[in-house]
Structures are given as structure tokens and as C-alpha cells.
């Protein structure tokens, strides 16, 4: 069993007991515990189930690399799934539940997957997707969905707050072990602005656990002094619980600070995401121990040797009463010695190396520990907990020599530098044969904006395995980084560290060397995703030679630990299966973040109302006061309709339409884009921008214009008014103001830069109100001021003057087919003018109308709407807008594209009106399909020739059109619609069938798109 020791535990505050619950059971730990160490102290080794086979899973590691110990943490607004127990600090009242099991952790039905394991090999999901389709749908998927899934999704809104932080530093140092501390001292003493971050809550990393001495004293003493020195430097900032999450282009880094995870009741942001621009980045990120691949290496109780040592030394936790150490290197002997020193029993050290270890081995033997050289673990006994190991010669095939009873196994396959942050932005790796690991290649670092290297790696992350090397190389890294950022390093020497000499390690990728299939299929590489040695071998056999393909096929390294434990071991197995060398096989790509960061930290403060700024017109407040039903249009909010008390939105829309048609409507049109284009070449420029002629527009006149992209497709439309000789005012769509202004600037700056044109976006400088309906003129005349009579201000003319005392520009343009004036007043006067119009218009029942009425009014007239009738594939010719395409101009944006063969195809879908035979409203976006048999037969022949057709090769009807706008017209008391139909204008009167999801198709007749007042008499009075 695992239990708390009476001694040891350098990180604990034994004076402060902490109560917490796991799966509803109350347990006790100490301040300074992680959730993992506290669980072990309470003999809770079993913490979860694996993803695929639901095998029992115990704690394997003591840090960020832990693959198994993921829990559902907290509840309600503070609930979080997949919290890593090894990096979760214990606090009073912590509640955790294990995950990925059903119905309970101890008794899990999914474990049948385990017995079916031989039927669920590598690529199981891919193979099953293809093979028995029905089985997937009816058997596998429902079962897997029910029984599996990592963690539960939170049900409540996040109750915490999060923030972003921006920092600019000379030197960012990631990792607060002795390497990071020494690098910070060296850079800090040189005067560089330094930020040093450490992901855990304590400084110094492994050195104190490993018995390192610095300057002749225990590492802890040196660490204390180093911290004091750093705290005294005003140019150095240090942060614990802060992880380097990612390194990006040109010295950008994301750093993730967990301020309040360990004290959830504090009035603090829970997480803080630092966005840092650093001159130089030092990655002092340490190394991660590799597991060994032997049969049953996943049984709870098998742990990394370093982790087991951490639990004893740092947390005073005994993982087992009787430990077997399995290793291929000297470092694991430290675990045996530490366990023995804690008064616990070490049953044996199984060393795969025929010659065994150096001075540490001698020390272990002198403590009376049995050491077996050239030996391997043949298999681990036990299911929910280790009960013993069977040992065999490493060189053999796994024939058991002896059974050693034990309840804990400490394994060490060597150490791999944490190269993630070095690699994120292109730092390359080299293979170190002696240590059998990849390490950063200092000659190929990530490059900055000037082509300078901007990442330096230090300590064991650089492959410096001995602590003396670690400090020397970290000192050099700190000085180099300071120098590169313009400081002058002090000519000090690095402190001297000493630790025991070590014999060379020996690469061991499976145990024993000649293990057969049966053993290999129990050797786990990826503990969370259940990828075994045999799976990688099968993938290689099936032709997955690229490491990236093997990863995806087997899911090796795709679990939430991102392959921190499994990567190198998996590569080695793949290389061996391919008869290749590990460096030739290469690694998969390291991608940020180093460990998962919370989604909320990425969102930061941008939640709720401040997620996105809101644009309000000067008349917005009136809408709020009058029950506006808001809809988002770009960043604006526009009123869809203004329902009165007790009125439905739909009824309000119909009322607004009828009031406008019969008497008087008012529309807040302030959001329409208003761009001034001015200069000697403005006319020439607008002729290029619009499909029709704008240079010959007379001052005082207005013209409707179309804009296309260089691809020929419609991008915007609006009325252009000529102000004076060299000034035009271009109205754009609501969503188009910024986009079209940018479009103008792009062409002016990058193509026609010698043209003398100036543009300015004045959208927000004016409020614009459309006064619409048969009584529009009467209202303006009642308010008094400028002459708005038919003779003084004709249709498509504009004038400047005063209306009711307001300075106004009055445009006689109409998007509704009614007598209509669009009146622009200074934005500051917008609300007052709007109120004045309502007050004076009361006698004509002046009615504010919203965007839906606006849409219906324009659709009744067959006017197109950018974004409804157009979708980036539609050209003006499709919409019957030939009249707006100038034939006088040599060129305009889109003209050449509109000559391309596909654009001139007579079979393009073209704009028509659609009238349902029963008067109902067509569904928006519904597709029409050909039903005319003769057309269909002709279509089959055309299809065979690769031309457009009505049916496909299987005789199925093809779509021949779609609905682009569809409304109930209160004016006409029936549904009206517009749509694009193949050869539409030639097919007037034909009845088409339109799809109607989950219902019978709807018949609609092709008609003219102008439903109301086709002669245009009403707008021209």
C-alpha cells in the first residue's frame, strides 16, 4: 500500500492539515501536497481508466508529464475536467472525481474492451469506420460514447475571472530549476530586464531531490540565496506557478500563470495569460524521464523512478512497502537509495546493463540492496495493483527466472530533454547517441526578425546531464542572452556543483530484447491512449513509415499528455520495425501549448458585454426605448422591427410595411456607409471602381452603382452622389463601409498611386434617416425649410439646405419604390431630427420601420440586396443588371473577369421572381430541381458530354436554382421570393419544385422579380 511517512517531505507544511474529497470520500493531506501526493498518502493508487481498453490506471509521474491521473475537479461554476492531479496543488475543500469509467472506478464495464484488445489493434477506428458500417452506428459508437470520454463537460458558466498581461523583456527564462536560476542571475547581474518563470510552486527543480551539492553545500541552500539575490534585483521579475506555454515568431511567447488554482476563494483572477515579446528566450525546461517498455508496465504501482523518489523526498509519501527498481542507467539508483533511506524495503534493482552502474550502484549494494545486472522485467503481476515482477535475462525472450513479490516498481529508461519550447518556432534537434535522446541543436536555433537566433537552451534541457555542466552552461546562456540584448555580462564564474559519477546508460527500447508478441502486446507506450509496442510494430508493417502517419494511425502521443512519456520510446520502436535509425525516423512536430491551458485564459477579459464592442447609431437609444428587436449587422445593432406592446415581431413587420406603403415610414439608415472620394482624378478612379460611369454624373445628381471585385463578382452596391466638380459621395451597404473604404485605399495605394484622389470614410459623422411613403413630402414641407417639391428636387437628385431648422443633405432616392427622401444630418443632431420627424409626422401616422420591413419593401420592388442575391459567386449579369454595366468604358474592376468563359455561359443561374402556387412563403435557401421530363432527358445527354444537365448520370434530378430572398408581403397578402434559376428569365411562367426539408416539395412559378408597381410610378411623383 502507499502511505504517508513520518519523515521526509521537504515541500510539506505538516502543521497545516488539509481536508479534501475524492469520489466522495473525505481524505486528508498537508499544505504543500499535490493532489497526486495526497491521493497516494491515502493509499489511492487507482485514479482512472485508460481511454480505449479501460484498463486500471495509477499515478505514473510527479509532474506535467503525467498521463493517467486526470480528474474532474470542483463543481458548478468552478468545475474543470481533465485536471492533472500531479500539477494540482491541494487546498482545503478540494473535490475531485475520477473520470473515464462507468459505472465506477473500481468496477468498470468498459474493461471488456480490454479482453477484446486483440480485436482492437492499431487503426481500429479507421478500420471500423470502413468495414461493418452498421456495427459502427449501432454497436460501437453508442457503446463508446456511453462508456468513454475524457472527463465531463462543464454545465455551468465559468464563475472565475481571467486576464491578459503584456510584457516586454530582454530575457525570458523558462524553468526555475538550478539552470534557470543561474541563467537569471547571470543575465540579471549584467543588467538585462529578466522574467524568470517556473511552472510549479517551488524553485530549484530536481537538484535538491537528487542530492546535488553546490559550492560544497546542499542545493537547497544555494537556491535560497539565489532567490534572495534575484529578488533584490529591480530588473528581474520572478514568478512561480507560471508555465512557458509556447514560443512563437520573433521572440513572442505565451506564458500561463495559475494565480488562484490553489486558493479558489481568493479575490484574484484564476489564470493570467502573459503575452510576452522577449529579446532572447532561455529554455531551462529540464528533462523528463522515460518509462521502460516491459509487459505490464501500465499496472498501477509502476511509476517513473524519479517520480517515486519525488514522492518520498518532496512529499514524504511511500508509494509501496517493497519496491523494485528497473533501469538502464545510474540515476534510478538514487531512487533505491532514497527509498532505503526512508526506511522502506527495496526488493531489487533490475539493471538491464550487463556491467551495471558506477558509484551509486556501489552505494546501493553497500546498503544491502540486491542488484541484478543484465536483467529485465519479463512481466508485472497484478491488475489493479502490482503484486510482483517476474525477471528474466535482458538478452533473452522473456523466460522467467524468478518472481520477486513487490507492490511498487520504479522504472527508468533514461532522460529526454524537454525540447518543446525550443522546437515550437523552428529550433532543430540532434540525436545524442550516448544518452539516447534528442537535444537542441545549438547551431540551428529559432530565428528572429533580423535573422538572429533568439532562443538559447540551458541545463539538462540542453543535454547537460551532470549538475556541474548544468550550472556552467546555464551561466553561459544567461550571459550570452544578456549580451545579445545589449547588456554587458559580469566576468563572474559559475558556481560549482557536484554529484556522483555515473556509468553510461544503455538504450533499452523493450524488455527483454527478444520479447514475443504476447509480451509486446502488454508493453504500453502511451498509457492514456493504450498504444502498445505491438501497435506501432503493426502500423509499420501496414506501411505507416512516416512518424506523423504512425502517430495518427495508432494515436501514439495524441493523448492529453501530448506524448511527453511515449514519444521517444515510440520512435525507437518504429525505427527498429523499419530497420532504420531513430534520427532518420525523426520526431513528430512539437506544438504549443506545452501543457493544456484553459480556454478561459485565452478569452481573458473578453466575455459577455465586452466580448466585442458594439456600434450604436445616434438613434439607437430610441430603439431601446421603443422595444426594438435588435439584430447584429456587422458590429452594429439594427432594429429588425419595433413591436408595440402585445404585438408579435411578425405583426410589427407587417404593420410597418403597410404604414409605409399607405402613408409614412421612417427608417434609421445611419449605418449605411458614406465615403467621400475627392480629387482631380476622382472621376477616373470611380469609373474603375464602379461598373457604370460615375465621371459623367452631374453635380446635384445621384446614380445607383455596382462594385465588383477583380474576379468579376459583385461585392457592394449603393447610390453615388456628386457633390461638386471633384467630390463624390459613395454610399455603401451597412456591412461594406470599412471594407469598401479599404478596397478603395488598396487600389489607390498599390495600383494607381499616381492618381490624385483622396478618400475619407464619413459613415459615423452623419445620421441618415429615410422618410418614405406617399406623405413623405408633406412631412418635410410641414417642417419647413428647403424646397423639396418635384420640380426643385427630382428623383435621383440631391440638395443641401435646412429642414425644420436642421442642416441637412437631402437625397431623393428610393429603396422601397415609394416617394422617398434620405436625409443626412450631423450625427450630433440625429436623434433630435428623428424626434422632430416623429412629432410632426404624427398626423400621418409616421411609423418607424426596421430592417425586415426594409427588406420586404425592396423585395416587392425586385431590388437586389448584397449578401442575399449575391454570395461571392454572382456577377451583375446574373441579376439582370446589364443596364448598370457601362459599355463606354474600356475597363473597370471585374470587366475582364466577366469575359471569362464560365461567366459568359448562357446556362448560368439568373435572377427571377418566384410565386408559390398556394401563396405560401418559400423556405429561405430552398433549392429548385428540374421536373420537366424532356428537359431531364436532354440533360442526361448533356451530362454524358460533361455539360450542364438537369439530371446526373444516375438519373437523379440536379438542382437548377435556389431561393435568395423570401418574405410574406403584407402589401400583396402572399409570399414573394426572388431566386437564381438556370436560364431563369427564359422560363417565365414555368412551375418549379422547391425542396422543403422534412416535408413535401413546394411548387412555385417563375415570374418577374418586380412584384409591386412595375412602372415605377410611385417613387417618381
Amino acid at each position: 500500500m502507499s502511505t504517508r511517512l513520518a519523515t521526509q517531505g521537504r515541500l510539506l507544511n505538516r502543521g497545516a492539515q488539509v481536508k479534501f474529497t475524492f469520489n466522495g470520500r473525505t481524505m486528508t493531506g498537508f499544505e504543500g501536497d499535490t493532489l497526486a501526493s495526497a491521493l497516494l498518502a491515502n493509499d489511492q493508487m487507482l485514479v482512472g481508466r485508460s481511454f480505449k481498453y479501460h484498463r486500471p490506471r495509477g499515478i505514473v509521474a510527479s509532474g506535467a508529464e503525467e498521463p493517467n491521473a486526470l480528474v474532474n475537479l470542483g463543481r458548478d461554476g468552478k468545475f474543470e475536467p481533465n485536471a492533472r492531479a500531479t500539477t494540482t496543488e491541494l487546498f482545503a475543500g478540494l473535490t475531485a472525481r475520477s473520470q473515464n469509467h462507468w459505472p465506477s472506478l473500481e468496477m468498470d464495464v468498459g474493461v471488456v474492451n480490454n479482453y477484446a484488445a486483440r480485436f482492437m489493434p492499431a487503426g481500429f477506428y479507421y478500420k471500423t469506420f470502413i468495414h461493418p458500417r452498421a456495427a459502427w452506428k449501432h454497436v460501437f459508437e453508442p457503446f463508446i460514447r456511453h462508456a468513454a470520454g475524457l472527463g465531463a463537460a462543464p454545465k455551468s458558466a465559468d464563475a472565475d475571472r481571467y486576464e491578459h498581461f503584456y510584457a516586454f523583456v530582454d530575457v525570458l527564462i523558462i524553468g526555475g530549476g538550478i539552470a534557470g536560476l543561474q541563467a537569471a542571475l547571470a543575465a540579471g547581474e549584467a543588467g538585462a530586464k529578466v522574467l524568470l518563470v517556473e511552472q510549479t510552486s517551488h524553485w530549484g527543480g530536481r537538484a535538491p531531490v537528487d542530492g546535488v551539492e553546490i559550492n560544497g553545500a546542499p542545493a537547497d541552500d544555494w537556491i535560497k540565496n539565489a532567490l534572495q539575490a534575484l529578488e533584490n534585483m529591480p530588473n528581474v521579475t520572478i514568478r512561480t506557478r507560471t508555465m512557458g506555454a509556447g514560443v512563437y515568431d520573433h521572440g513572442y511567447a505565451l506564458v500561463y500563470e495559475r494565480l488562484a488554482d490553489h486558493k479558489p476563494d481568493a479575490d484574484l483572477p484564476r489564470h493570467r495569460l502573459w503575452k510576452i515579446r522577449a529579446g532572447q528566450i532561455i529554455t531551462a525546461t529540464g528533462a523528463i524521464e522515460r518509462p521502460l517498455s516491459f509487459a505490464g508496465n501500465d499496472v498501477p504501482g509502476v511509476m517513473l523512478a524519479s517520480a517515486l523518489r519525488d514522492y518520498v523526498v518532496n512529499y514524504g509519501v511511500s508509494v509501496g512497502d517493497r519496491t523494485v527498481v528497473v533501469t538502464n542507467n545510474d540515476d534510478a539508483y538514487r531512487t533505491a537509495i532514497a527509498v532505503k533511506a526512508a526506511g522502506l524495503d527495496v526488493a531489487a534493482i533490475i539493471d538491464a546493463r550487463p556491467d551495471g552502474g558506477g558509484p551509486l550502484a556501489a552505494e546501493a549494494e553497500s546498503l544491502g540492496i540486491r542488484v541484478e545486472k543484465g536483467t529485465a522485467v519479463a512481466k508485472v503481476n497484478g491488475s489493479k495493483r502490482v503484486t510482483g515482477v517476474e525477471i528474466c535475462p535482458q538478452a533473452g525472450e522473456g523466460k522467467t527466472m524468478t518472481l520477486i513479490p513487490c507492490d511498487a516498481v520504479a522504472m527508468s529508461g533514461g532522460w529526454s530533454p524537454v525540447v518543446h519550447l525550443w522546437s515550437h518556432c523552428g529550433g532543430k534537434l540532434i540525436w545524442d547517441d550516448a544518452q539516447a535522446h534528442f537535444k537542441p541543436d545549438a547551431s540551428r536555433p529559432p530565428m528572429g526578425d533580423k535573422g538572429q537566433p533568439f532562443v538559447i537552451t540551458a541545463g539538462i534541457a540542453d543535454g547537460a546531464m551532470r549538475s556541474a555542466e548544468v550550472l556552467a552552461n546555464a551561466d553561459a546562456a544567461g550571459k550570452e542572452a544578456a549580451k545579445r540584448t545589449g547588456s554587458t555580462p559580469k566576468s563572474t564564474k559559475a558556481p560549482k556543483a557536484s554529484d556522483a559519477d555515473e556509468n553510461p546508460m544503455a538504450p533499452v527500447w523493450k524488455m527483454p530484447q527478444g520479447a514475443g508478441y504476447k509480451l509486446r502486446s502488454k508493453m504500453f507506450l502511451d498509457f492514456q491512449n493504450d498504444v502498445k509496442v505491438s501497435d506501432v510494430q503493426l502500423a509499420a508493417q501496414e506501411g505507416f513509415e512516416s512518424v506523423e502517419h504512425t502517430k495518427r494511425y495508432t494515436t501514439l502521443g495524441m493523448a492529453t499528455d501530448q506524448g511527453k512519456l511515449s514519444n521517444i520510446n515510440g520512435l525507437a520502436v518504429l525505427a527498429e520495425s523499419l530497420n532504420s535509425e531513430i534520427p532518420q525516423v525523426g520526431t513528430t512536430t512539437f506544438r504549443p501549448p506545452y501543457t493544456p491551458i484553459s480556454m478561459a485564459s485565452i478569452a481573458g477579459e473578453a466575455r459577455g458585454e465586452i466580448f466585442q464592442p458594439l456600434r450604436r447609431t445616434p438613434i439607437h437609444g430610441w430603439g431601446d426605448d421603443n422595444n426594438a428587436d435588435w439584430e447584429p449587422v456587422g458590429h452594429w445593432r439594427r432594429a429588425y422591427a419595433y413591436p408595440k406592446q402585445g404585438e408579435s415581431v411578425e405583426d410589427a413587420v407587417n404593420r410597418e410595411v403597410l404604414a409605409t406603403r399607405k402613408s409614412l415610414g421612417l427608417l434609421d439608415a445611419s449605418t449605411l456607409g458614406k465615403i467621400i472620394v475627392k480629387g482631380p482624378d476622382a472621376g477616373k478612379f470611380l469609373d474603375m471602381l464602379y461598373t457604370n460611369m460615375m465621371s459623367n454624373l452631374k453635380p446635384g445628381k445621384c446614380r445607383y452603382g455596382l462594385m465588383c471585385t477583380e474576379n468579376g463578382f459583385l461585392t457592394d452596391d449603393g447610390v453615388v452622389a456628386r457633390m461638386d466638380d471633384d467630390t463624390w459621395l459613395c454610399h455603401t451597404t451597412t456591412g461594406g463601409a470599412e471594407r469598401i473604404h479599404a478596397h478603395m485605399e488598396e487600389w489607390l495605394q498599390t495600383e494607381w498611386w499616381d492618381w490624385k484622389v483622396y478618400t475619407a470614410n464619413l459613415t459615423e459623422q452623419f445620421a441618415q434617416i429615410a422618410v418614405v411613403g406617399p406623405n413623405a413630402r408633406k412631412l418635410l414641407e410641414k417642417l419647413g425649410g428647403m424646397d423639396v417639391s418635384k420640380d426643385a428636387l427630382g428623383f435621383m437628385e440631391w440638395a443641401e439646405g435646412q429642414i425644420g431648422g436642421f442642416d441637412a443633405r437631402v437625397f431623393r432616392i428610393s429603396f422601397s419604390g415609394e416617394l422617398s427622401y434620405e436625409i443626412a444630418v450631423p450625427a450630433s443632431q440625429g436623434r433630435a431630427f428623428w424626434d422632430a420627424l416623429h412629432e410632426a409626422g404624427a398626423e400621418w401616422n409616421a411609423t418607424a420601420y426596421g430592417t425586415e420591413a426594409l427588406h420586404i419593401l425592396r423585395a416587392e420592388k425586385g431590388f437586389i440586396m448584397i449578401g442575399d442575391e449575391t454570395d461571392g459567386t454572382v456577377i451583375p449579369q446574373d441579376l439582370g443588371l446589364h443596364w448598370a454595366l457601362s459599355k463606354k468604358k474600356d475597363d473597370y474592376l471585374g470587366k475582364r473577369a466577366q469575359q471569362r468563359s464560365h461567366m459568359t455561359d448562357p446556362d448560368r443561374w439568373q435572377l427571377v421572381g418566384l410565386e408559390t402556387t398556394d401563396g405560401s412563403v418559400l423556405p429561405d435557401g430552398a433549392y429548385a430541381y428540374e421536373t420537366d421530363l424532356s428537359r431531364a432527358q436532354r440533360g442526361a445527354a448533356e451530362f454524358a458530354e460533361g455539360k450542364h444537365a438537369a439530371v446526373n448520370a444516375n438519373g437523379q434530378s440536379l438542382a437548377c436554382g435556389r431561393v435568395t430572398s423570401t418574405y410574406y408581403s403584407a402589401t400583396l397578402k402572399r409570399g414573394i421570393a426572388m431566386g437564381l434559376v438556370r436560364n431563369g428569365p427564359d422560363r417565365m411562367g414555368e412551375v418549379l419544385q422547391f425542396t422543403n426539408i422534412n416535408d413535401d416539395p413546394i411548387s412555385a412559378k417563375i415570374v418577374s422579380p418586380v412584384f409591386y408597381d412595375p412602372e415605377g410610378e410611385k417613387q417618381n411623383v
Binding site: H250, M447, G448, E745, E746, W753
Partner: protein, 110 residues
């Protein structure tokens, strides 16, 4: 996230201040050009592993378009310059040639 220097306002800014606009030095084809020439203008873009001349706009700054010469592999920015030119500045080309042996500027879309 890149750092770019706007040659107009002189600000050295974060990539989020800028807006990328694709390959630079493309010659416009239009009415009168054949289909092939127009297709090349409209669609054909270089995608080099190495030196790339590209358009950027200082969208959240002075609003100006400019050009940048950048290595797509190492992300080194060799320099930025006015967009109102048909070829990159000679000095910049010389500097790139010094850093990338065998480099030659090929104007326009190929």
C-alpha cells in the same frame, strides 16, 4: 507573431497591427489580355520556401500598404519598403543576395 516595421510611419509593430495582402509585384492584366495572362494575374501565386516579397498593410496604424521581403523558412525580415514601386530597392536585393547565395529577384507572377 511577426514584428514588422512600417516604412511610412516608422513604427515597428506586432503582426496583429498589420494585415497581410499576399504576393507583391504582380502586374495587373485586364481587358485585351488573353485568358492565360489574365488567369496568371488573378490566380497564380508563388509559394517559395525562402525569400518572398509580400504586401502588408499597417491596418491598425497609419493605414498604408507597403512591401516586405521575408524568408518564409526562417521568418527573417530582410526589409520593408514602399508599395509604390515596381521592383524592390536595389540595396535590399543586394543585401538579400549576400545572405542567400544564388538569390535572384524574379518580378511579377510566374
Amino acid at each position: 507573431m511577426l514584428i514588422l516595421e512600417c516604412p511610412y510611419c516608422g513604427v515597428s509593430g506586432e503582426e496583429t497591427e498589420f494585415h497581410a495582402g499576399g504576393e507583391a509585384h504582380i502586374t495587373r492584366a485586364s481587358v485585351g489580355d488573353d485568358d492565360q495572362a489574365f488567369e496568371t494575374y488573378l490566380f497564380m501565386r508563388k509559394n517559395p520556401k525562402g525569400v518572398h516579397f509580400e504586401r502588408w498593410q499597417h491596418a491598425y496604424g497609419c493605414g498604408k500598404w507597403f512591401h516586405a521581403a521575408r524568408c518564409t523558412m526562417t521568418l527573417e525580415v530582410f526589409g520593408t519598403y514602399s508599395a509604390q514601386t515596381f521592383t524592390p530597392p536595389k540595396a535590399l536585393l543586394a543585401e538579400i543576395a549576400k545572405k542567400r547565395s544564388g538569390f535572384e529577384f524574379e518580378g511579377g507572377a510566374s
